[in-house]
């Protein structure tokens, strides 16, 4: 079992004909992902290494039964691409592209929330989602992940997601699904969405959550964990030493005001019964203890 994607998932890649889209689309296929189509408004009828290209997501969905779209479109075209995917009828849109303008992001998030409530958005600016051994959508290196569960991962940071997968693999702990929600100010999928899905997934028996400075999503997640979750959660929050007012790489990683600091987030999580590691390795070790006690 897993959340959001599995070995039956069929994916259409918007931007498959571009250099990034092609590189990762073919890598994902080599991993075993059901990469069934690509789109390009002017290249319908052609193919990328045997993967058929359609003019629109709607046509790709109709022809292939794809239920997920992965967006590798340059930032300027992401808003249009996301709406096209939702109109095409996919259940999940994974936006890998970084550097999407905040106003575009706010607009397409709300457009989906209102007009396409059945479509889940993941990202933008995220590494994607992987159910190890079954389906890898995005830019995660699949070989660093061990499949099978019992741990679910949700993370705001790309490289720390890889770090978490790797730490667990070193401890010989398997992962059900690993979701990178991305570090942008308006993430389509939140910690709470993933925590709720992991809580409902019988194969997931514990969850690692990796947060960072900025916003209040970790605090909200802490509240959710305290009230709604029966499964143990281990967390790490990056940015204890980050100075206020500076963007630490991610648009969302900025301390504004007295909240949003790593310390405040760690305290909120601990108060909710979450075991918090002071670094990724420590979080991995804490998870090993949790898994041993399951």
């Amino acid at each position: 079992m897993s959340i959001f994607v599995n070995n039956e998932t069929k994916v259409v890649y918007q931007g498959l004909t571009g250099s990034q889209g092609r590189f990762y689309g073919l890598r994902n296929r080599a991993y075993g992902t059901g990469v069934v189509a690509g789109t390009h408004p002017k290249k319908a009828g052609t193919d990328v290494d045997g993967i058929p290209i359609f003019a629109t997501v709607a046509e790709a969905v109709q022809a292939t039964g794809a239920t997920v779209s992965c967006v590798f479109i340059p930032a300027a075209g992401v808003e249009r691409a996301v709406v096209e995917a939702a109109e095409g009828g996919v259940e999940l849109v994974v936006v890998i592209t970084e550097g999407v303008p905040a106003h575009d992001e706010a607009r397409f998030y709300n457009r989906l929330r209102r007009d396409f409530p059945a479509t889940r958005l993941l990202g933008p600016n995220c590494p994607g989602i992987i159910t190890p051994g079954e389906c890898n959508i995005g830019i995660t290196a699949g070989e660093i992940a061990k499949g099978g569960g019992p741990v679910g991962i949700v993370s705001r940071s790309g490289t720390l997601t890889y770090q978490a997968l790797y730490e667990l693999k070193q401890q010989d702990i398997g992962v059900t699904t690993c979701v990178g929600i991305g570090g942008d100010p308006v993430p389509g999928t939140t910690f709470i969405d993933c925590l709720a899905a992991f809580e409902a997934d019988p194969a997931t028996r514990a969850v690692i959550m990796i947060g960072e400075i900025g916003g209040a999503e970790e605090e909200k997640a802490a509240d959710f964990i305290a009230k709604e979750m029966s499964k143990p959660v281990v967390a790490y929050v990056a940015g204890v030493t980050a100075p206020p007012g500076k963007k630490m790489g991610h648009a969302g990683a900025i301390i504004s005001g007295s909240k949003a600091t790593a310390k405040a987030k760690m305290e909120a999580l601990e108060a909710a019964g979450v075991r918090v590691g002071l670094n990724p390795t420590e979080a991995g070790a804490l998870m090993a203890e949790v898994v041993a006690g399951l």
Binding site: A102, S157, G158, L160, Y166, P185, T241, M248, G249, H250
Partner: protein, 382 residues
């Protein structure tokens, strides 16, 4: 990108938001010329991106040319909380009946835009929010619909401004909304927004933060660049497209990915050291990018050791290791380097590094061990 007040006012003016007549000056003579044009009395305002200019003596009223000369002379070159004043904005002084506050920004919790309007302007809005939250009228605006005139009018009514200010405020807020959305700003703030004795409403200050991600559709932003308050090292990093933020410590940090870079700073701190910087070289770790990063760190005299923390994902360990070795061949580094390489093919990468190991190039397998060594090489804490 944060704009200076004068740039913000120029940006406001593009959207028809009324601001005082004035001009920017970098010399005393220029300031006098701007004042003559704006008409006395004038206000001479230091252009720095830091709060508390007034208290620091960076904002002065001048009745004539001699006074402009005196004040501009004092303010230019002044150090306000570490920011050296290089420009002053000289504008016609306004008579003020009332001061209000207005802003738009993204409410990340609600995932909607948030407008704030208050009859208590001229002070920090955080202070108003803490002391009398009811004094702020808030409006959530759906990004799909935008701010309608009716909604704007209701919002202004809710703020209990002076009746004489209402029509003018509605007009300005609709223009400010356009500036926020079409101008791709993360924040637009007018504090104070003033009502004059003649019943006019206009922006006496301007705080604008532009969304760097939208720069591709705003060629007009080029004029704002090059004037940002960056030190030489930050400027060099920016030219090399590296995410660099200077900190106060002695351990130089290079990592791939923002989260890992932040985490690396944290671990250094945790083992008793202090990071000299945050530096994210992005997903890969090619020789060129690594050489650029080392070059930036090498210009920092505070740095006593360098901690390179790379997690190889798609970029394999041996490629990363070769990149580091090549980079070291290109840049002569003063401080000792500790490398932690992990991830895909980490063992092969470490073998390559081992062949080049010396007292000033040490490879350690874990983040904590590497951090401890880097901190020890930097002479411990501080």
């Amino acid at each position: 990108m944060d704009l200076f007040e004068y740039q913000g006012k120029q940006y406001f003016a593009r959207f028809g938001i009324p601001v005082s007549a004035g001009g920017v000056a970098t010399t005393v003579d220029e300031a006098v010329a701007r004042a003559e044009k704006a008409g006395y009395p004038v206000v001479v305002k230091a252009q720095v991106q830091v709060g508390g200019r007034g208290k620091a003596g960076g904002i002065k009223l001048a009745a004539d040319g001699d006074e402009v000369r005196t004040h501009a002379g004092n303010i230019l070159g002044m150090d306000i909380k570490g920011h050296v004043v290089r420009r002053v904005w000289v504008e016609h002084a306004s008579d003020i009946t009332r001061e209000f506050y207005a802003s738009f920004t993204l409410d990340r919790g609600a995932k909607l835009h948030l407008g704030m309007l208050s009859a208590q302007g001229g002070v920090e809005i955080e202070q108003v929010a803490a002391e009398s939250p009811d004094a702020i009228a808030r409006i959530h605006v759906d990004p799909v619909d935008g701010l309608t005139e009716d909604a704007c009018r209701e919002w202004v009514d809710a703020a209990n401004l002076d009746p004489a200010a209402r029509v003018g405020t509605v007009d300005i807020l609709l223009k400010l909304w356009r500036c926020y959305v079409e101008g791709d700003a993360d924040l637009v703030e007018i504090n104070p927004l003033i009502l004059t004795p003649e019943g006019r409403v206009h922006a006496l200050d301007a705080k604008v933060t532009l969304d760097d991600n939208a720069a591709f559709r705003h060629p007009e932003w080029d004029e704002f660049r090059g004037l940002e308050e960056l030190d030489d090292r930050e400027r060099l990093a920016k030219e090399k497209h590296l995410q660099y933020i200077g900190l106060d410590g002695t351990v130089g940090i290079i990592a791939n990915g923002a989260g890992l870079a932040m985490s690396t700073c944290d671990v250094v701190n945790q083992v008793g050291g202090a990071p000299a910087n945050f530096l994210d070289i992005g997903g890969g770790a090619s020789a060129e990018v690594m050489a650029n990063a080392l070059e930036v760190i090498n210009t920092d005299p505070k740095v006593k050791s360098i901690f390179i923390n790379i997690f190889g994902g798609i970029t394999r360990g041996e490629e990363v290791a070769n990149g580091i070795v090549q980079a070291l061949g290109r840049v002569a580094i003063d401080a000792p380097i500790v490398i932690r390489l992990d991830g895909t093919n980490a063992d092969e990468g470490r073998r390559i590094l081992k062949a080049h190991e010396s007292d000033s190039l040490i490879s350690l397998p874990t983040m904590l061990d590497a951090a401890r060594r880097a901190v020890a090489l930097a002479g411990g804490a501080g």
